[in-house]
Structures are given as C-alpha cells and as structure tokens.
C-alpha cells in the first residue's frame, strides 16, 4: 500500500517496525491518520519513539509475533461483528480461496503435532502434493528431478519448483461450510490461538490483547479500513515470511486489502532497496520477479523454463513475453529464436548463494572474490566475526565507499587484530578501495517502499576520482568486454553477447542514464521505438524490455515519468511513476464489491462505470479496464480471460488471494507459530515441534547455536536501528553531525534487569553468546520491561547494530553475537530474536589492553 494511504486508515497497527525512528518521513502519514482520528497501535518489545506517538503500546516478547497475529485471526473469526456483518463473508467468499476445497490427504499441524503433511525426514523438507487443491496435483516430472538434485547435495529452489498448473475452476464450497475448504481449515488451525494462549506465549496480558483485537475488528469493514506497517523485525526471523503471510491472512479476513487505508505496508530499510529487488541484486531473481534459472527447478532450456514458470491462467500467462523481451534487451542481436534468445548465457543457480550462505563460502575458500558496494558486512552481517574471517580469506575484494569502513579496514584494525589473534601480515586479501560519488553527485532514481520511482538530479560533479555506480559498472563492463573479446569459453561468449552500447556524457563520461531507463522501459527491436507499457511486449523477439514491471516509465523518448512532481490528496498519479502501470494501490479491484460498486462512499477508490463500460476511479485500475464485474470465463480460456469479473488478485492463478497457500512457501501452507531458533522457552502451541522443521541452519564450529532454554543464555536479545544512524554506519558514524547525536554503542535494559546485576545507567556490561562476547554501555530505561511468559519473567535486551570500531561514533559490534541462520523462503537471517547472557563490567581483554596503552 502507498504510505499516503495510511492517512485514510481508521486504525494503524505498527508491529515489527519502529516506524517513527526508521521511517520518519513516511511516519507523517501515520500522524495524518491520527489527526483524522485514527487509532495508532504499536506492538513492540521496546517503548520507542513510535510508541511515544501511539495511542496504545503493547510490549511483546521478541519472536512471538505470529502467536499474537494468530490470536487476532481466531478472535476475528469468532467475533460478533465478523459473523454478523455480511461484508466480511462476502469479501472472503469472492476475493479469496476460502471456499476452495483442499486435497483430502492434507494434514494440519494440529493433526501431526506441529508438522504439516508432506514432511520428508530424510531431506528435512516438505513435499507439496498434499497441500494442493482437491482434484489437482503439481506439475509432473519435477519431483524426480528434484530428488536427483537433492541426492547431489543441492538445495531446490522453492519459488519455482512448486508452480502449479490449473486446468479448471476450483472445486469449492461457496458457503465455506465444508470442513475441507480452506476457510474451515484456517479456522480450525487457529482455534487454539486464544487470548489466554497469546498471553502465555507472547507475554501480552489478555485484556491488552483483547483491546487491540476489538479495535482492529471494529475499525475494519465496509466503511472502515485498517492497516499494518512492518519492517525487518518481522522479516528477520526463521519464520519471517510466515509472520507476514499471517498478517496478509488476517487482513484478507477483515477485507482490508486493495482498499484505501487498508493493507500491509512493508517498510523498506533504505533508499531504493525496493528498486534493488525489482531490478534485483539478489542471486535468485531476474528483473521483474522472474526466477533466476535454476538447475534444481528443471530450467535446463528456455522451453522448460517457460513451461515451469508460465501459469495457464492469470497474469503470469504473459511470462514468455517478459523473459524473451528481457533476453532481447540484454543480448540484442545475439538473442535469436534459434539460440533460445540467449537463455544459455544466463548463469544457472545450483543452490543457496544468499548473503548468509556466501560468507562461510568465503571463509572456506570456495568463493575467492567479492565486490562490496554500499554494504559493510564486517559490522552488518550476522556472526560478523565469521564474516571478517571470510573477508580475510579472499583473493581480492573491490570496495567502494565514501569512508574507510570496517569492511575495508578489517585487515589492519579489527577486534581480532587489536587483541592479537590475527596478524595483518597473515591476511592475503588484496583490497581495491575506490571512492564513490554520493547522492548529490549523481543522477538516478529511487524506488521507494510503495514501488514509487522518483528521479533525482545531480547537483555537483563528484570530486577527484569519485565516480557514480553507473560509471563504475559501465566501464567495468567495457573492460570485461575488451578482455574477453576473443575468448570462446562459455563466459567469454556470454560477455561478448551482452549489449553495452550506452552513450556517455559529462565531465567524467558517465553513461547516459535515461538510455538505461529506455532499455528498462522497453522498445520494439526493429525501430527502437519505445513501448507504451508491458501490454505491448511480445514473445517473438520483436520487443526488448529490461524489466517488464517498469514498462511505461518512459513511454516516449524524453518523457521520464519518474521526473513528474504533481501531487494531490488522492492517488497523486502525477507524481513520479509507480510500477506497474502507475498503480498506487495494488489489487484495487477489491476496493469495489463483486458487482463493481464502491463498498462505501468513505472508501471509494475504483469502481465499474456501467455507462462507459469500464473501470474508473482515482487510481489506475489493477484490472482489465473493460472487463465487466459479471464476466464469466469460457471453460478453455487462458490468461486473464480465464479470470472472472469479480477476481481482483490478477497475479494469482485463480484471481483470488490465498488464505491457504498451496504453493510458494517451503515451510507450510498456513502460518504457524514456531519459536525462534534460540529461545528461553519452549513452544506452548506445539511442544513437540518447538522450532520450524525446515529452517536453513549453518551447523559449524564457528557458528554454534544455543539450545532451547539453555540456562547459560537466559535473556532474549533483539537488535535494531536508531534514527540517527544508517544501517552498519558507513554513511553516518563517520559524519560528525550524525555521529554526535548517538556517539557510542549501548544496549537498552530495564531497571529490573539492571538491578539483578547491580548495573547503573551508563555502566559497562558484557554480552555473550556462543558466537562472541562484546562490551557496551548499559542504557537503563523504563522503556524496557520484563514480561511474564510461561509464568515467569523474561528479560529482553535491545541493542543497536550500527556500531563498529571505525569512524567517530564507535562501539562494539552487536552482530558479533548473532548467528548465521535463514528463513527457508526469503533466506533472511534471524537478528530480531536470539538468546544471550549479560554480566557486569568490561571484557577482560579490553581492560588489559587499555591498561597497557596507558
């Protein structure tokens, strides 16, 4: 949802985010909602600057979010309002897969003591057959290949292998009474998430939970909408994807999707991090959310790749147009029908090459070179000591940063060097440290959290040898092309085929960025005429497009929609460009009822205009413009023609949102509460299955985990950011004006916990895990508090992860304490909940070296 849409909310719940501190500019729309009379609820272990602006602060045990959300689902489904107001049932019946019948072999966690059906103890992964809709099965022939790959020690890529093919309308029960329908399965699944259970698991008193639940349900409906804002305190868990799915499930049940003031706002952590997943810096995605070809997913050639990825029904039926246009944009004349449009030039992934997975590979010598740009892994990566050891074992590293951050300086100055464990002369990594241009010194665009692309202009030329990222990548590409000009190996042919013909301009010969925007927008190959949007893209090689979802950003030469700056109080369609097709609220067909009328006057957004015979409203409709609400597909239709006129979720095969996710997730079709990997308490909901059975772990001597309830590590630790610093500090700890505002590392603890050690505000404390020990100052504050969980007091420790030894604002590295571990879906680590021990005083080694220094 757009941040601006928060202003239309009747209730804003901020959970897994410290929005006022980390997204202060977007928080203005929360303040606007508040001015309009909305209730603001902040659910967070700490009382933060966000809590200070909220109407309700709910302190919660870190890592118990899903139990709380599951409790909200259970409350909602049993509430009087939900059962008496026909709006909710109508929304769920028409717009979700609630009525769909699920395979009768499916077994829930309730039946199997915490596991879903399909778990294979040999591989430690789920097989997905039993999760399918009744009467349907997965695509054939993949499971065998998958097994082969796993025997070869490879990890399959979930997002592609579980793609389904649907041949007919779902078997369903429109009354949603059949015990096998998704709705009833959900209802049963969450029935034990009672207020009492929520209190036991999360430490939120029952009365407070009920206060939130009532407010949420009463602020949702035909004429009211509620929204959730989350950030990385939901994602950075071994069950992060499921926490977010659980919220989506709740919002669907409440009819809060695709409507103004409704939805889930994913707050992205820094400028254009959204852009870096759209046109990705991720190992497993191609631009526009097409999967990177994977050996494990049967993507051996273009035909197979398309066969696996294309959906017969729904928007993804267009998949071939987008991948072939991408290949034409990248490989130009070298991409022909005969050579699969150069599909073989694309690397095929064979396993997990996410950030966490790469780090041990560096330490083990598998991965020998690294480009490190806009990142400070020596501070920001989990188990950062292991990461520094990885950096120290590379052949080479190219580092571009305005300051000599820790990841550039680790070889001569680090905690390990300072205490004598590592000697600089033993580190062989050759480091190329290059100066970059900073924001005002370069043109470019930002894609913010709501998919809004905004262009920014260079104000001054970068000084000295500083150069922009496009400059660096462009000239690197040119040199690689020269180097491999006569190379007939696979990599040589790949580099030769790449189109790289950008003009240059300006004092430093920067590539002309708007030519890159043209390539991203797409054009017809024959005359290089720009296409007006992704509807113009073809699967016959006649069009090229660098990222289909951005198509339309430059519909004519010289018309860069991201430059537009005409605002208004509604959708502001004249401000920048929001992909896709300048849409501000996705799936906004759901803002109208099944017949196409606005659900209410208050929440109008788009609606069906009978006279004009098309969808109209404030926003660009996320729906075929002239498809009438009563449209019914012919049995054999494909693509969007196979969707009914009341099916708003165009990307989904059936046009319905998923209450029950038959595909797409490795760890279950329904969100389920599992404890964090490290936890002081067991899982009350599934005592036999405390942790998710399919977490990706890195079991190594240098990455040891704590057992559940390990008495040596009794405290829950969570890490976070402050307004005053930016991520691992590369852009803030070295800047005096920002450094002075939060000049040194600290950990926040409650007076109750401080009292246990006799620690006063500002005293040194030492925090320890099996990964490492650090020292820091204690900021003793009532903003932290112990919670009653499982009948005992659980203390939580909060520590900003910004600090390192470099720069002006310094402190020990919080991530020296955390572990490498991954959510199996997103490959994101768990830094928001792990366990630790605390003791009073400084690290003995540090006290000694200080004394020596004196």
């Amino acid at each position: 949802m757009p941040q601006q849409s928060l202003a239309d909310s009747d209730c804003v719940i901020i959970m897994g985010s410290n929005m006022a501190e980390n997204h202060p500019v977007g928080f203005r729309f929360v303040m606007k909602a508040k001015e309009r009379g909305a209730t603001i609820i902040h659910i967070d272990p700490r009382f933060s600057r966000t809590s200070a602006m909220a109407d309700v602060h709910v302190p919660i045990r870190a890592g118990s979010d899903l139990a709380f959300l599951g409790g909200l689902i259970n409350y909602t489904l049993n509430s009087e309002r939900w059962n008496n107001d026909p709006f909710f049932r109508e929304f769920v019946q028409h717009y979700t897969n609630g009525p769909a019948l699920i395979n009768e072999d499916f077994r829930d966690t309730e039946d199997l003591a915490g596991k879903f059906s399909g778990f294979d103890p040999e591989t430690g992964e789920y097989e997905f057959e039993t999760w399918q809709y009744a009467g349907e099965s997965q695509k054939s022939d993949e499971s065998e290949e998958e097994q082969d790959e796993q025997e070869a020690g490879q990890t399959a890529e979930a997002e592609s292998e579980i793609t389904e093919e649907l041949s007919e309308e779902l078997s369903q029960d429109p009354t949603m009474e059949d015990p096998r329908c998704a709705f009833q399965i959900i209802k049963r699944h969450f029935s034990r998430y009672t207020p009492e259970m929520v209190e036991q698991v999360s430490g939120v008193p029952k009365e407070l939970f009920l206060q939130v639940a009532e407010k949420l349900v009463n602020s949702s409906g035909r004429d009211r909408t509620s929204s959730f804002c989350y950030a990385v305190a939901w994602t950075q868990h071994t069950t992060g994807t499921q926490i977010i799915s659980c919220c989506a499930l709740l919002q669907l049940l409440l009819g809060n999707m695709g409507r103004p003031g409704g939805g889930i706002l994913a707050l992205r952590g820094h400028a254009t991090i959204q852009g870096s997943t759209d046109i990705p810096t991720l190992y497993n995605l191609l631009p526009g959310y097409m999967p990177m070809p994977s050996i494990a997913s049967g993507h051996s050639n273009l035909k197979d790749y398309i066969r696996v990825q294309q959906h017969r029904t729904g928007w993804w039926h267009n998949f071939p147009k987008y991948i072939i246009s991408l290949l034409k944009a990248w490989y130009g004349d070298a991409a022909t029908e005969e050579n699969d449009y150069g599909f073989d030039y694309l690397p095929k992934i064979s396993g997990d090459y996410s950030f966490s997975a790469m780090m041990p590979m560096m330490k083990d010598g598998t991965l020998k070179g690294l480009f490190c740009m806009g990142m400070n892994p020596a501070v920001g990566g989990q188990n950062s000591r292991l990461i520094r050891e990885g950096l120290a074992n590379l052949d080479w590293m190219v580092m571009r940063d305005p300051y000599e951050i820790e990841s550039a300086a680790f070889w001569y100055d680090s905690p390990e060097v300072r205490n004598g464990e590592i000697r600089p002369e033993d580190i062989k990594t050759e480091i190329f440290f290059l100066p970059p241009a900073v924001t005002p010194e370069k043109d470019g665009s930002y894609t913010n959290t709501q998919r809004l692309v905004q262009w920014h202009e260079k104000a001054v030329d970068p000084p000295g040898e500083c150069r922009s990222e496009p400059w660096f990548m462009y000239y690197l590409g040119r040199r690689l092309k020269a180097l491999y000009a006569d190379d007939d190996s696979a990599k040589g042919r790949q580099i030769q085929a790449l189109t790289w013909g950008y003009d240059t301009e300006g004092k430093h010969g920067d590539p002309v960025l708007e030519q890159i925007v043209e390539e991203i927008n797409g054009y017809t190959v024959a005359d290089r005429k720009l296409v007006s949007g992704f509807a113009d893209l073809k699967d016959d090689g006649s069009t090229a497009c660098g990222c289909w979802i951005y198509s339309g950003i430059m519909p004519e030469s010289g018309v860069n929609q991201a430059r537009r700056r005409k605002g208004d109080d509604r959708a502001a369609l004249g401000w920048g460009f929001a992909w896709p097709d300048n849409r501000r609220i996705l799936y906004n067909r759901a803002s109208a009822d099944p017949q196409g009328r606005p659900w209410s006057e208050e929440k109008r957004w788009i609606w069906w205009d009978e006279e004009l015979g098309r969808w109209t409203g404030y926003d660009s409709p996320d729906f075929p413009a002239s498809k009438s609400p009563d449209y019914e597909p012919e049995p054999e239709s494909v693509g969007m023609e196979a969707h009914r006129g009341d099916a708003p979720f165009v990307m989904m095969p059936h046009g319905r949102a998923l209450l029950f996710a038959s595909t797409g997730l490795r760890d279950g079709p329904i969100p389920t509460h599992y404890e964090p990997w490290e936890t002081p308490v067991t899982n009350l909901i599934y005592p036999e299955q405390a942790r998710s059975p399919v977490v990706t772990t890195f079991d190594r001597a240098d990455n040891r985990y704590h057992e559940i309830g390990d008495p040596r590590f009794p405290y829950v630790m969570t890490t976070y950011r402050l307004t005053e610093h930016h991520t691992a500090g590369g852009m803030s700890r070295f800047v005096p004006w920002l450094a002075e505002l939060q000049p040194g590392g600290f950990a926040e603890i409650s007076p109750e916990l401080a009292g246990e050690f006799g620690v006063d505000n500002g005293d040194w404390i030492t925090i320890t895990t099996l990964r490492g020990s650090i020292e820091t100052r204690a900021l003793v504050t009532e903003r932290m508090q112990p919670l009653q969980v499982h009948g005992r007091a659980i203390h939580q420790v909060g520590m900003p992860w910004h600090y390192g030894w470099g720069g002006i604002a310094t402190g020990d590295i919080a991530n020296d304490l955390s572990a490498l571990i991954e959510d199996p879906n997103s490959r994101i680590h768990q830094a928001k909940a792990f366990t630790c021990d605390i003791s009073r005083g400084r690290l003995p080694s540090r006290v000694r070296s200080d004394a020596d220094g004196e």
Partner: protein, 279 residues
Amino acid sequence: MVSSAERNRSRTGAREGAMGFLTDTTLCIGCKACEVACKQWNQLPADDFGFTGHSYDNTNDLAAETWRHVSFVEQIADGEGARPTSLRAFQSNWLMMSDVCKHCVNAGCLEACPTGAIIRTEFDTVVIQQDICNGCGYCVPACPFGVPALSPIDNKAHKCTLCYDRLKGGMEPACAKACPTDSIQFGLVDELMERAGQRVASLNDRGVDGAYIYGDRETGGTHGIDGLNAFFILTAPSEVYNLPAEPELPQDKTFSGYASTILAAAVFSIGAALSLRGR
C-alpha cells in the same frame, strides 16, 4: 471591528510582519532532523559530548554550536514501576521537544549587548552580527532561557538566526523545512498563534487536557519579555522541558537595583552624617 490578525497581535505582542516558529511538541517524533539541518545549513561544528546516558539526548542543551536541540524526557513508569499501555493521545510518556532561540519581543540579549552586535531584523528576529560581536558575553546571562553562548572556537556569542540568510532568499528556515511531521512550523507570528490556539483547542477536545501554548501572553508567564516570536505547544509543566515557568529579564531588575543602591547610599550617608554630628 478588530481583525483576527490585530487580535492575535495583541496576544503575541509581536510587531507587524514578525516571523517566527511554532514548535508543536505533540507532533515531535524526536528524529533530530532539525538539529542536523540547522548544523548543516549554518555549517556548525559537531559537539564532542560522547555518550551521556540521558535517554537519547547526547547534545545536552542549546549551545554556541547547537541552535536547535531536541530534549528527551522519559516519564514512563508510574510510582509502582508499572508501564502504561493506553497512552494519552499524541506524544506521551516520552516527551520530546525541539528547543530554539525564542526571538523575544523584548530580547534580553539585545538590550544587554554593549556593541550593538545584536540587532532586530526586518523580520523582527534577533540576530548576532558576527563581525561586530566582541565576545564580551553580556548577552549570555541576560537571556532567561540560556540561549546565546560563547563559542570556544572564536570566543564570540552565537545563537539561532532564524536562518536570516534563507529568509532573505524567500526560503523557510532549515529546521522547519526538514521537520517531517510539521512539529516545527514557520510563518507570521500572528498566524502561527492563531494556528496554535486552534491546535490546543483541538487537543483539549481529544482529551489532551494539559496542552497549552508556552509563550502566549494570554496565559501569562512572559512578563517583561512581552511575548515570544518562537513559541511552543507543551503538554507538561515548562520546567519539565527545562524552560522557566516565569522567565524574567535581568534588565527589569535594574530599576529596583538602582533604587535600592540609592536608598542604601542615602541611608549610609545619613548614618554617616549623624555619626559625625555626635563629635
């Protein structure tokens, strides 16, 4: 008939066309963008305080190099240590306030300045001219709010200029420009006071009983200062934010000071004369 501007002018005491700040603490999220924007625009050096442990405040106070300062006041737990969950609407329990020079209608610093370095500008703001200031420091104790300070770098007095240079260029001050929640608002003092009055009324309607305007002549407390061109909406007693409840100008005590000196002199003279008569 009295226009609303005139009515407000009598409320603010400001001269016609006076520009100032309304700092509404109920909207402040403590992001310190104002502090940074101020330092950047005015090219002020960082202070070197280090970690203070005073909540999230590490710049301590307004100073020669800190012209906007966000203070943080934690009032979280009740007497028994219980933390509230239902909070007062708008900022509560963790108070944040961006302090700044008040650009007083009768400015103590300006009156105390012996060199004429401190002037009142065409915007009715109070500015220290750096080329004239000789660093005598008389302005420092003359300010009841502790705003001007001598810099250890150039030994001259410094404080907020209300971005005089930006105003000359038709731009709003850097802090107001940077504030993401419009906690800091810039404009004509009379209009700001009108807005502040409406805001307080609306806050009162929504149950924030304690909200009031600090620097409003109607609610008293500005004494001889006669009004502040930069005023605040607060929700707790002003001392909580380190603002005096009843600020006074030292100059206002000069008459009584002189009078008591003269009286004392007279008494001693008479006493002396009487003692001599005895001889």
